[in-house]
């Protein structure tokens, strides 16, 4: 699996690689800088990685349009350095590493806690250039914020995880960096934290993100911490802070301002790094408590009943809970697969879902990366066949 990666320097070269692989009947695994191999389980043995890391040119950036077009291999960190001096940013905060590439962020399609404020990753991808599994170069979407010309292939490719094509170029929408960035940390017991989160999420205050974090991780002596992020003009943020405090009837344990607030959230992007098990439990926001309970059971089991590395966190605005654990290399704790399967049943019964984004093979094969989605399987199959008829690229999404 850790073959030497191919690193094409142009779209044309990428296409040649795909055509050659297709002719030879061999397999490719599209990748970015490979900061996070194995994410999502859509990799498999036997493919040659094709990394877009050399495709990192900025092709077009007119700050006043708040739109940037760059090669898929540009690092999100470098992109931030390019647009930052104009007080602009790309609010992609999906789990990963800031050294990850723009193309990989689009291909994985995951969104982070800022989704409610700024839209999901797919809402901010305006156009793509891709090399499909059958070796065609497609330019889809465009460089404007509103575009309904033809079917929305951009959305199809966003989140397709290298199964339909290799993304070589991306146009994204940027946003102005808000004048004030503040994070209020409220500490409390497990159920207290959930009820605070509910109060915040249903209040009229436009919070940018609301996350639950285990107290230990941020040095608090209570079990959980609710991190409420406020973004906007200074007066708006000040007023929001006042109202949040009033609604909760308590002072924050800590308040982080501007640089501090940003660093706190940047660090949270890397929360999953190094973990060998990551499970995502989604539920409607008002069933967050149930999803948290299911997640806690998984974390406890991952720790083998003892004190361990497993932790949970939740995006309260979206009702998404994540479990992270570093498992022993040899045998995963007994009963872990069963606990995960039970947790999946529990959240599915509430209309939610459980997906694994990292898991040891023994666990993944028993639990399955995702719940089954039989209804859409036929469509998914035909879509895969349209773009990658010979299965040159990553396996189709479930």
């Amino acid at each position: 699996m850790n073959n030497q990666a191919l690193t094409p320097e142009s779209t044309a070269e990428t296409r040649e690689i795909v055509l050659a692989a297709r002719a030879a009947g061999s397999r490719l695994l599209p990748a970015g800088r490979r900061t996070w191999p194995g994410a999502g389980g859509w990799t498999r043995d036997g493919g040659t990685p094709v990394s877009t890391s050399q495709l990192d040119t900025v092709h077009h950036y007119e700050p006043a349009d708040l739109i940037l077009t760059a090669g898929a291999g540009i690092g999100l960190d470098r992109l931030a350095r390019i647009v930052g001096p104009n007080r602009q940013w790309l609010p992609f905060d999906a789990p990963g590493s800031s050294a990850g590439t723009l193309g990989a962020a689009v291909a994985s399609g995951t969104s982070g806690p800022l989704r409610t404020r700024y839209g999901a990753t797919r809402d901010n991808v305006l156009g793509l250039e891709v090399v499909t599994g059958d070796g065609r170069t497609l330019r889809i979407g465009g460089r404007v914020v509103k575009n309904v010309a033809g079917y929305d292939l951009v959305r199809l490719f966003t989140g397709s995880r290298g199964s339909l094509g290799i993304i070589t170029r991306v146009s994204v929408r940027l946003f102005p960096i808000p004048g004030a960035d503040e994070t209020l940390l409220f500490a409390g017991g497990p159920s207290e934290a959930v009820s605070m989160a509910r109060t915040v999420c249903t209040s009229e205050v436009p919070v940018a993100a609301a996350e639950l974090v285990e107290g230990e991780e941020v040095g608090a002596d209570r079990a959980m911490v609710l991190a409420v992020r406020l973004l906007g003009g200074p007066r708006e943020v000040e007023e929001s802070r006042r109202r949040i405090r009033a609604a909760l009837g308590t002072e924050p344990w800590r308040a982080l301002h501007d640089g501090e607030s940003r660093r706190f959230h940047t660090a949270r992007i890397g929360w999953e790094e190094g973990a060998s098990l990551v499970a995502r439990l989604a539920a409607l926001p008002d069933r967050l408590d149930a999803a948290l309970a299911a997640a806690r059971a998984c974390a406890t089991r991952a720790n083998g009943g003892a004190q361990g590395s497993a932790a949970i966190t939740a995006d309260a605005l979206q009702g998404l809970v994540r479990v992270r654990a570093s498992l022993p290399d040899v045998d995963p704790p007994t009963g872990l697969a069963e606990t995960l399967a039970t947790a999946r049943r529990d959240v599915e019964a509430l209309g939610g879902s459980l997906t694994l984004s990292h898991a040891p093979p023994q666990v993944a094969t028993r639990v399955g990366w995702t719940g089954s989605r039989r209804e859409t399987a036929a469509l998914t199959e035909r879509i895969k066949a349209l773009f990658d008829p010979d299965s040159v690229l990553a396996p189709r999404c479930p």
Binding site: I67, R87, G109, N147, R155, L156, P176, S240, T370
Partner: protein, 485 residues
């Protein structure tokens, strides 16, 4: 006309009053709001449930006829027009809001629910549905989904696709597919995102789940009056690049202002102005005045003659009136209207506006602009009379030139109205053979038998197996004579 056996079958499925075959009653289904394209459907069926839609689709397909889904018929690209005697499946009776789930800020509804009615129904719980096409008191959410519609406030809040979280769709083969669903992560292909904007070609949406937002606490509305439209365009660009994010920024040009002021919709805009720019900020009360002040300064610096502010809801409605009634007012100047919908990068607005006005002059046509300036989404409206064949030809040429101008500036041919019948022949301006070929392929993934809204979106001459297919008489030219009554 459809075979009598099919009429009977449809009546059995949906009820006799749900099947329309009379010529007179079919008249209103001949076109959408782009009245230059007219074709009479074979029949119109108005089912009430997903199951009725499913059985209707099966019955029509069994008789070998094409199907056209239809909402309120306010579309501006000819999307809901029935070519080749197709059977229209209308969603007018599927107008129930199934749930408003306030704690989770979402709603589940049937596709025939009128856009504004959803917001009205959610208002009691302090919520609303953000995408607000100017036609929102008439258009359906199903139509919005099919067109991926935008609206003035999409500048800050984003378009329809951002708010559609789940769909139930009846596919042309009569199967029912559910995709997405809030609170559920759907790993894998974004079928919901792919369906949104598919213009009725992939299937019929019969149940739609959408996200709602809390009603903003405060609003500030400004009206900038300009002597030159380019200056208004520059003000827009400068406001955005300064980091302000208004909820809406709309421009109404001189010809439109005069049309409005001449009509029953008069809004009190100065008739000698060349542009009016409506700017709105919303959110928490705190901070709104600052933002409005900064925007006012940018307008004045860009050359605004004056900037008015609304102090209360009544004044706010008055400032918006000229914008909201623009289409209605234009109808008074000329019998026909061709609405264009290109989007360009915001910074090119001043140059593009100038270019459009030159094209209008060169073809001796009245071009009136009213548009979503903050998004760079233009609506040059060409006013004409379709009985004047010479004028009709000039309209076609001017229309194509305007589109080319926008595409050359890095833009696209349609920002929110869709391709439909009207713009399908312009698709090659922005996509090459491989992209078009892929779109045909995606269409076939959903509709292998080409029965759902055929003849829309993709130009038939680009169809991979074009040579083997029957002639399609509706090539999407403007209709040169009034439709027979």
């Amino acid at each position: 006309m459809i075979p009598g056996r099919l009429t009977k079958e449809l009546a059995r499925i949906c009820g006799r009053d749900a099947v329309i075959i009379d010529r007179d009653r079919l008249l209103v289904y001949e076109s959408d709001a782009l009245t230059a394209y007219r074709h009479r459907p074979g029949a119109v069926v108005l089912p009430r449930t997903t199951e009725e839609v499913r059985r209707t689709v099966q019955a029509v397909v069994r008789h070998g006829l094409p199907i056209v889904p239809r909402g309120a018929g306010t579309g501006l690209s000819g999307g809901a027009v029935a070519l080749n005697g197709a059977v229209v499946i209308g969603t007018a009776r599927m107008n129930r809001i199934l749930a408003i789930d306030a704690p989770n800020r979402r709603a589940v509804l049937q596709p025939g629910v009128i856009n504004a009615e959803l917001s009205a129904a959610a208002a009691g719980q302090g919520l609303y549905y953000a995408p607000d096409p100017s036609s929102q008191t008439a258009c359906t959410i199903g139509g919005n989904v099919a067109e991926n519609s935008g609206g003035p406030h999409c500048l800050k809040y984003g378009v329809t696709s951002r708010y559609v979280t789940g769909l139930t769709v009846v596919l042309p083969d009569g199967s029912v597919v559910k995709a997405g669903g809030q609170g559920r992560e759907a790993p894998g292909y974004d079928l919901v995102g792919l369906f949104v904007g598919s213009e009725g070609c992939f299937g019929i949406a019969t149940e739609i789940e959408v996200g709602l937002l809390p009603v903003p606490e405060g609003v500030r509305t400004l009206l900038g009056i300009f002597d030159r439209i380019e200056d208004a365009g520059r003000a827009v660009s400068e406001i955005i690049s300064a980091g302000l994010l208004p909820a809406a920024m709309e421009i109404i040009d001189g010809p439109t202002i005069r049309a409005v002021e001449d009509s029953v919709f008069a809004a009190g805009y100065p008739t000698d102005a060349e542009a009016a720019l409506v700017i709105e900020f919303d959110g928490l009360e705190a901070g709104l005045d600052d933002e409005a002040e900064r925007a006012t300064r940018f307008c004045l610096r860009a050359g605004a003659r004056e900037v008015r502010g609304a102090r209360d809801e009544e004044e706010r409605v008055a400032l918006w009136k000229g914008r909201k009634k623009a289409f209605g007012a234009m109808g008074r100047i000329a019998p026909d209207l061709l609405v264009q919908d290109a989007t360009v990068p915001r910074t090119t607005l001043p140059a593009i506006l100038k270019g459009i006005s030159e094209i209008g002059k060169r073809y001796n046509l009245i071009v009136a602009n009213v548009f979503h300036a903050g998004d760079g989404n233009l609506h040059p409206n060409i006013l004409f009379d379709r009985r004047d064949l010479d004028e009709l030809e000039r309209v076609e040429h001017a229309s194509k030139e305007i589109m080319q101008l926008c595409v050359d500036a890095g833009g696209t041919i349609t920002g929110e109205h869709g391709v439909g019948l009207d713009k399908k022949h312009h698709m090659p301006l922005i996509y090459g053979p491989d992209e078009l070929d892929t779109m045909w392929g995606i269409r076939r993934v959903f509709d292998p038998g080409a029965v759902m809204n055929p003849g829309k979106v993709l130009p038939e001459e680009t169809e991979p197996s074009h040579a083997n297919r029957g002639q399609d008489p509706a090539r999407g030219e403007l209709v040169g004579a009034p439709a027979p009554a």
